[in-house]
């Protein structure tokens, strides 16, 4: 059967980290995106923002150096890089909503070919879903990238023509990193930039619920 190997979550995070230019201000959503923090080399100055009021945080601390007052939005312990700063929630979301983040990386249940993202509620009937900061991030960041497995555990495509789950924001996603491929959202199409070795175009298409186009390129 398939003689390709999907990327691990860690490998996905490393793949994403490679594409973030030095100097960018970046917010990392919960899940795979969070792992990007640990994948950024210390010498590459990327400024990580977290909704709960910190800019310039660094990787997870050693267990013996945990600071209980210093967490990210996923409530995991982090560290502070030199030049980092603290602020309150309204100021934190002013940064997000005001378009000051170069990039936000989010997990997703579904992404549409038009760049719609659904990542907070699994049905419109779910009356107590937890939205957190996802909608502000999706609407506010200059760029939204998605990091997700290409399909659900059951094998259902997560890249779709139209989202079936309630939207987080319409038409905001510009790039998607899955465990199988890197895709741009361009002119309401999924455009594949790279795939894991050994994966066929037909196989990728079969796992994607919208037409995929192939225009391989390297990001600078």
């Amino acid at each position: 059967m398939a003689d390709y190997k999907p990327l691990s979550r860690k490998a996905m995070a490393e793949r994403i980290a490679r594409d973030i230019p030095e100097g960018w201000y970046v917010n990392l959503g919960i899940g795979i995106p969070t792992l990007v923090a640990d994948a950024i080399p210390t010498e590459k100055e990327i400024f990580l923002h977290s909704e709960n009021g910190v800019l310039g945080f660094g990787p997870a601390p050693d267990p013996e150096h945990i600071d209980p007052w210093l967490i990210n939005a996923g409530k995991q312990h982090v560290t502070l890089r030199p030049g980092g700063s603290f602020f309150h929630h309204a100021d934190s979301f002013a940064m997000i909503r005001g378009g000051h983040l170069d990039l936000c990386i989010l997990g997703a249940f579904e992404v549409s070919a038009g760049g719609d993202i659904a990542n907070w509620a699994t049905s419109a009937q779910d009356s107590a879903p937890a939205v957190g900061g996802a909608m502000d991030l999706a609407a506010g960041a200059r760029r939204v990238w998605v990091a997700t497995e290409h399909t659900t555990r059951e094998g259902a495509p997560k890249l779709v023509e139209t989202c079936s789950y309630p939207l987080t924001a319409p038409a905001v996603v510009s790039r998607i990193y899955t465990n199988l491929a890197v895709l741009d959202v361009e002119d309401n199409r999924f455009v594949v930039r790279e795939m894991v070795p050994g994966l066929s175009r037909d196989a990728l298409q079969a796992m994607t619920a919208a037409p995929v186009f192939f225009e391989e390129k390297e990001y600078a």
Partner: protein
Amino acid sequence: MINKQVGTTAEALSGIADGSVVMIGGFGSVGQPDALIEALIEQGARDLTVVANNAGAGRVGLAKLLDAGRVRRIICSYPRSSGSVVFEDLFRAGLLELEIVPQGTLAERIRAAGAGIAGFYTPTTVGTILAKGKETREFSGRLYVLEQALGADVALIQAWRTDRIGNCVYRETGRNFNAVMATAARTTIVQTCGMTEVGGLDPEAIVTPGIFVHRVVHIPDGEAAAPAHLKKEEV
């Protein structure tokens, strides 16, 4: 001489009426005013509306307040998290009203109340089910949703250092909703990890000037002040 410090959490919480809107600061357990929440349970006010980012976890703190049947309605961004069993049970049983607000909109609505702004237009929720029933309006070619100020009768806050006239600083990510909620309540009650003399805080670094603070109670550093997720009983 003005002295906003009171001796006990019971004094700090005195006079909270049934039906009050109560804001509770913190994000997760960092900066959560645990002692004040306990005292609110003791105090006995019922039919409360709680404004907080989360809806509690485990059986302590806000979850315990919910469990005691004191809360009629909760306004938050992230009610369902690992351990939010009390919330889920009450909500499923129809015993708790819920208003879901995106985290940034929640912070901004609270800030608006504190700043005398009645409402504002935000791009957040445009094109989603959370914009349903709300006014949508175009500014410079982009759509925005009208959101209204959210104030409170009481705000329960945790600070790091405070003086007798109510100036507060926070610690690291403990600032979170605390500094915003402090501005938006008729009575802002601070649980502080440490008292300093007046003049002991850097005037350039004071986050919450005393103008926003009405009562202060000292819950010393150490076990009680450490974020709850590090306490033994919850690991």
